[in-house]
């Protein structure tokens, strides 16, 4: 073997090892080794699969019930026919929980996409331009953050009337200042970095530095916040539904409303509160676990 050949073999060995790929690929590889991330991802995958495949998975219709077996003092619990029992309207609880995942997922994804997009746009403008643009945007965000999140969402949802769309809008609005502040702070930090100075010393234009160098390096905390915000969005959606601000159609299954409906019957049919509660818990837990693992994988300071 010649010198050059063995050299390239050595280099190849390096490539296939620890160091290959971009920072994102590296983070992904680390995620796969982290059991917390794997559990989180599995929970999320289960949640998404259930939501998408609801018509195939649900054994009964979520909206039609048989009231013949229901009395005030007796709601049938889990049985071999109805694994999670029946609800107060005689509907299959399992089917309702399966369909309920759809509302949660839809609200979570849509509100997060809306909120994060708008927030990041504002944050990027503030962080990119600085000066008075920054001041105006950030004072606005401060005002929005001064009101507690759920309270703010209730106000927005109440203003727009009860419907799924107003819940999504409300949660999106709450998320805007969170993402704006996060991206701006991250960009301000990156703007002072050595590679930005080096790029400036080579005459790279300001706009290109902001878009090509500063922005991509500032996204890591935003990605983490994204997963955590999805968890919060699901909780907020349940909270708003619990307070009666969810979908206008009461037959649409929503985990939050399922909790409201059973609160009078906690003594006789506690399972009707436990099952939707568990569903909320598990989906939120999944996003939180993955978010924490992502934070670890993307933050070089926490590594090793």
């Amino acid at each position: 073997m010649s010198v050059a050949e063995s050299e390239s073999v050595l280099l190849l060995a390096e490539h296939t090892g620890e160091e290959g790929g971009s920072r994102l690929k590296l983070a992904f590889r680390q995620l796969r080794r982290n059991p917390v991330a794997v559990i989180g991802a599995a929970l999320i995958l289960l949640f998404v699969a259930v939501a998408i495949l609801a018509p195939l998975l649900a054994p009964y219709s979520p909206t039609h019930g048989d009231l013949s077996n229901i009395t005030v003092s007796h709601v049938p619990g889990p049985s071999s026919k109805h694994w999670l029992g029946l609800d107060l309207q005689g509907r299959d609880e399992l089917s309702r929980i399966i369909y309920g995942a759809r509302a949660s997922l839809l609200i979570g994804v849509v509100s997060l996409t809306l909120g994060a997009t708008l927030g990041m746009l504002l944050g990027a403008l503030a962080g990119g331009f600085g000066g008075w643009v920054d001041s105006i945007i950030m004072r606005l965000m401060d005002i929005m953050l001064a009101v507690p999140g759920l309270l703010f969402a209730i106000a927005v949802a109440a203003l727009l009337g009860p419907s799924l769309r107003s819940v999504m809008t409300a949660i999106a609005v709450v998320n805007v200042p969170v993402f704006a502040r996060l991206l701006r702070a991250s960009m301000l930090g990156q703007r002072e970095s050595d590679y930005v100075l080096a790029a400036r010393s080579l005459g790279v234009k300001r706009r290109k530095i902001i878009i090509g160098h500063v922005l991509p390096n500032s996204l890591a905390p935003v990605i983490v916040q994204g997963t955590l915000a999805l968890a919060t969005a699901i909780i907020d959606a349940a909270g708003l539904a619990f307070l009666g601000l969810g979908s206008a159609d009461p037959s649409v299954p929503e985990w939050g409303r399922m909790l409201t409906d059973t609160q009078q019957y906690l003594r006789t049919a506690p399972q009707l509160a436990l099952f939707p509660g568990a569903a909320i818990l598990l989906s939120v837990l999944g996003f939180n676990l993955l978010g924490d693992a992502l934070r670890e994988a993307l933050d070089p300071k926490l590594r090793r």
């Binding site: 010198v3 920072r23 590296l26 590679y195 100075l197 080579l202």
Partner: protein, 353 residues
């Protein structure tokens, strides 16, 4: 006419409620086309700020720059930000101290080089890629075509500094400012990088301003040396004369604190006592006086001027310099070694198992 002439450059940092800091306080020097000039001093003496001021990279707010920086006749301090941006990278480029942080971690090395080519040489696509590969090849990176697709974290420190030098030289600038380009590297790599700079810059006629605290670097590379202390030049001379007959107590102190291989065992190093923070404002005398072993009463009364030294011809800012040849100070061995040491950029092959 000199390519770059810095005239009475002052940089003052001011913050509300604090006393302004004169980081650079009347620095004057010039660089001829193709020449190599060293700016030497401890951390905090103003050498990096000088380079950032020349490049126009100091923040506009809080930093007050005075004097003139003439490059090819134009005063860079008077140019518009746009005109200055055109000049940076094309006519004047810079290599920074820390190659670990000076490359963007999310972009491939190739992309970062082609960005400069796009900006200043209007090259795109495959042309730019080919040029980038040939640049990497020129700075001694093996297998440049594949290395273009590498991210900075996949490269070693020395290779990253080579890539940064390739970026700086992408447009064949007439002036390169290297701010401690070897400080963050280990010694064998330092020698390689210096040799590379010497080869690429000095031999191709690009002028080089070398900013360093390391007299070994100066000994190997620079034609002219300016020793700075607390924002002012305290001694200037050509390299040979500076090492042969250092006059300023600070210069001799720097030379005496460099370890040498050929001094007998047991001879202690003699660091300069105190730190650059124990300084006297120039308005009250010589800033070096609190640390100086040759201090006289005059030193703490009026700051000395930078005057030609009648004995050696150095420019000297001292009332009581060392007598020429008085205390013999050994010249440190140049770090730039024989090419045989500096050449192997490629790792030697391991023995076959």
């Amino acid at each position: 006419m000199a390519l770059l002439s810095v005239e009475d450059l002052t940089v003052t940092f001011s913050r509300r409620g604090r006393r302004p800091v004169h980081a650079v306080d009347g620095v004057t020097f010039s660089v001829e086309a193709g020449a190599t000039v060293g700016l030497v001093g401890e951390s905090g003496c103003g050498k990096s700020v000088t380079s950032l001021a020349i490049m126009g990279l100091l923040p506009r707010r809080g930093a007050d720059v005075g004097g003139a920086v003439r490059f090819d006749g134009d005063d860079l301090l008077q140019l518009s930000p746009n005109a200055m941006r055109e000049l940076r990278g094309r006519e004047i480029a810079m290599v920074f101290q820390d190659p670990q942080t000076s490359l963007n971690p999310v972009l491939t090395v190739g992309r970062q080089i082609t960005e400069v080519l796009e900006r200043h040489r209007d090259m795109r696509g495959r042309d730019a890629d080919r040029e980038a590969a040939s640049l990497l090849d020129r700075v001694g990176i093996p297998d440049p075509n594949r290395r273009l697709k590498d991210y900075p974290h996949q490269m070693s420190g020395g290779m990253r500094q080579r890539a940064l030098i390739a970026m700086a030289l992408a447009c064949k600038p007439r002036l390169l400012i290297a701010d401690e380009p070897t400080t963050a590297l280990d010694v064998t790599i330092q020698a390689q990088i210096l040799e590379l700079l010497k080869e690429l810059v000095v031999d191709s006629g690009t002028a080089l301003v070398m900013i360093t605290h390391d007299l070994g670097v100066v000994a190997g590379l620079c034609d002219t040396v300016h020793v700075m202390y607390s924002g002012r030049i305290v001694e200037s001379s050509d390299r040979r004369s500076l090492f042969a007959e250092p006059r300023h107590p600070y210069t001799t102190g720097l030379l005496a604190s460099v370890p040498r291989l050929d001094s007998p065992r047991g001879v202690p190093l003699r660091p300069i006592p105190g730190s650059p923070r124990d300084l006297l404002p120039w308005a009250q005398g010589c800033a070096f006086a609190p640390r100086c072993t040759r201090r006289v009463d005059q030193c703490t009364a009026v700051a000395p001027d930078l005057l030609p030294d009648p004995v050696t011809g150095h420019a000297l800012r001292c009332y009581n310099p060392w007598p020429p040849g008085g205390e013999a100070v050994a010249v440190p061995a140049p770090i730039v070694a024989e090419p045989i040491v500096a050449k192997p950029a490629v790792r030697r092959a391991r023995k076959k198992p």
